[in-house]
Amino acid sequence: MSAPVPAVPSAAAAAAPVPAAPVLSVQDLKAYYRTRYFGVTRDVRAVDGVSFEVRAGEIYGLAGESSSGKTTLIKAIAGAIRPPLEVVGGTMTFSFLPGSPGLHRASPAEVAGIRWRHLSYIMQGSMNVLNPVRRVKHSFDDFAFRHMGLARSAFWAEVEAHLARVDLDPSVLAAYPHELSGGMRQRVTIALATLCRPEFVIADEPTTALDVLVQKTVLGMIRSVQREIGSSLLFVTHDMGVHAALTDRLAIMYAGRLAEEGRTAEIFARPRHPYTRHLVGSLPRIGDASERKSLDGTPPNLADPPPGCRFHPRCPLAMDVCRREQPAMIADGPDHRVACFAVHPQSEGHP
């Protein structure tokens, strides 16, 4: 039997919408890839004015195809900003670092105190995230020991208890990463990322590289660990089926901007934005034999995006105003926002 779990809010309380202070608040974030040579500056506008909030204890999903900018968005949030990536405007404020516009502006000491203890990361492609020449226990030692403030023996006891929560035997610690299966490696990463009970965990396509059966188990474990330790989870994947199964709220991203955001059930039941409708409609449903139409065209070149709404070249509802002005994110029902002129004809756009 694992070690006694600390008291957590009851399941009912966690499910009801709680107007608590957000763990992460992103305001009008702009992050571009800037290359300068021969005196010409080129910007790839991977994230171009994104605003949203993640509340305490919720699983917030971020969906979108590749080149939607979602990878850049989480890189910016996690503070993994290296040239040529630059944060050009906006803020990302965490509840545990109030007043700071984001990790890219925080001092090294602040960042060192936050990383892993308050903000952790589950990466895609568990193949290679652990040091291949050292045993698994060294990763736990390197990543987590200094944050826990425990004596060595107490630390390892806690680690073993935590491993049990993801159904892993303590013998895993003495193994090398290549000796574990893909699913086991990913469960180790989950345990590693949640050991210090951070308030905020970013999960970047954590199950994409796994086969379907293992995927189901791992997703279930992610959810149960998250509920137990009460952290917020920003879950990024292009797989709408996973969002439907896991997330509380969901945001749809397209070409560097948010198209729609709301409670997951609502998004799937009544999608408003044409792009969301296409994504939701593309999910296969048992018994539904209707033909699926694919979307014309390709995602825009983010170095030279189309004027107005980024989606208009492929949108079946495109109007004149869509080609000139960008729609703003406007509320459309409780806890639901859309950026579309077809939904809100009178909205003022950002140029």
Partner: protein, 334 residues
């Protein structure tokens, strides 16, 4: 079978293959070519002054016997292998009647000492500096070191030894440029002798190290530059792991694996360099022995040194191969 034992068996097999091919090559060169080494030896031995024909004939006979060149080709082949395995190469012509094997045994420790010292030094220094250079890409000092390495690494061993000889022999004569130890000092396990050996080894070791360190530097630098973008390094950085720990445990430790393989592959080349460096500085190792033997037409000694070199380098590579799994735990699964 335990995976490590399976690995050992494989490496032993490779070692035996190398020794087999190498020794056969030596056999082919000496026995299968139309030129007769005995005639060559006689030619050199009789080149100064005149020798009576009967003397030459008896010399020829005894040399043939001594060198195992009598009998059918099969007998010669078997004799050759028997001598290699028992390390019996006959007497040395230039130091008659001292057996070749004793001459080699006396010279070998000097060569091994030189090789081990300079290889360890250049590998450790080059890898450490190269790793730092690959990680801290903006450091000016390290960039400068890179340029020096690029200028020094392609220069062959002989040229560096020659330049050092000129500099320290004639321009700034502060170090001994010949011999393994001071000539009037008897060999023994005492401090004075050890100090003398150390002083005399400075220049040969320096010469070999200068050439070698550049190569290890450049290799490590390029390995580290690629490893820095690997998932496990990025992940550790995202986790806020201490930078020094990332450099040592995640970056360098992983770069060391292919770097170590490079060590096994370069051992032959380093050995070649050691031989010529010994000759330049008159260092009493197998290199000087080999070259002097050629000048003297001493067939047995030349063949003996060549065979011992082949087997010695193969043993060295085998040792490195056996250590390798301790560096890279993945190798046992393959």
């Amino acid at each position: 079978m335990h995976p490590y034992l399976a690995y050992v068996a494989k490496r032993l097999g490779q070692f035996l293959l190398i020794a087999f091919i190498g020794v056969n090559l030596a056999y082919a060169i000496t026995h299968a070519t139309p030129i007769d080494p005995v005639e060559q030896s006689i030619a050199v031995a009789t080149s100064f002054g005149s020798t009576a024909p009967q003397a030459i004939e008896s010399m020829r006979q005894s040399l043939r016997e001594l060198y195992g060149l009598t009998g059918t080709p099969l007998e010669q082949y078997l004799t050759f292998w028997r001598r290699v395995v028992t390390a019996d190469f006959g007497p040395s012509l230039s130091a008659f009647p001292a057996p070749v094997s004793s001459l080699i045994a006396r010279a070998l420790p000097w060569t091994v000492g030189l090789l081990v010292t300079s290889t360890l030094l250049s590998f450790a220094l080059g890898s450490l500096l190269g790793g730092l250079a690959g990680y801290h890409q903006d450091s000016r000092g390290l960039k400068l070191m890179g340029i020096l390495a690029m200028g020094l690494h392609p220069v062959p061993y002989y040229i560096v030894a020659l330049v050092l000889l000129i500099v320290f022999g004639f321009v700034w004569p502060v170090l001994p440029i010949a011999g393994g130890s001071a000539m009037n000092l008897p060999q023994g396990f005492n401090l004075e002798f050890a100090a003398s050996v150390a002083r005399h080894s400075i220049l040969p070791v320096l010469s070999l190290t200068l050439v070698g360190v550049g190569g290890w530097f450049l290799g490590m630098r390029s390995l580290v530059s690629n490893i820095v973008s690997e998932d496990y390094v990025v992940y550790a950085e995202l986790a806020g792991v201490d930078r020094r720990r990332i450099l040592s445990s995640y970056v360098m430790r992983n770069a060391l694996v292919p770097q170590f393989t490079g060590l096994a592959m370069s051992l032959g080349g380093i050995f070649n360099g050691a031989i010529i460096t010994e000759k330049v500085f008159g260092y009493p190792g197998v290199g000087t022995l080999l070259v002097d033997a050629v000048y003297a037409g001493d067939y047995g000694l030349v063949l003996g040194v060549t065979t011992v070199s082949i087997i010695g380098v193969s043993v060295g590579v085998l040792v490195i191969d056996l250590v390798y799994p301790f560096l890279d735990p993945r190798v046992q699964v393959r």
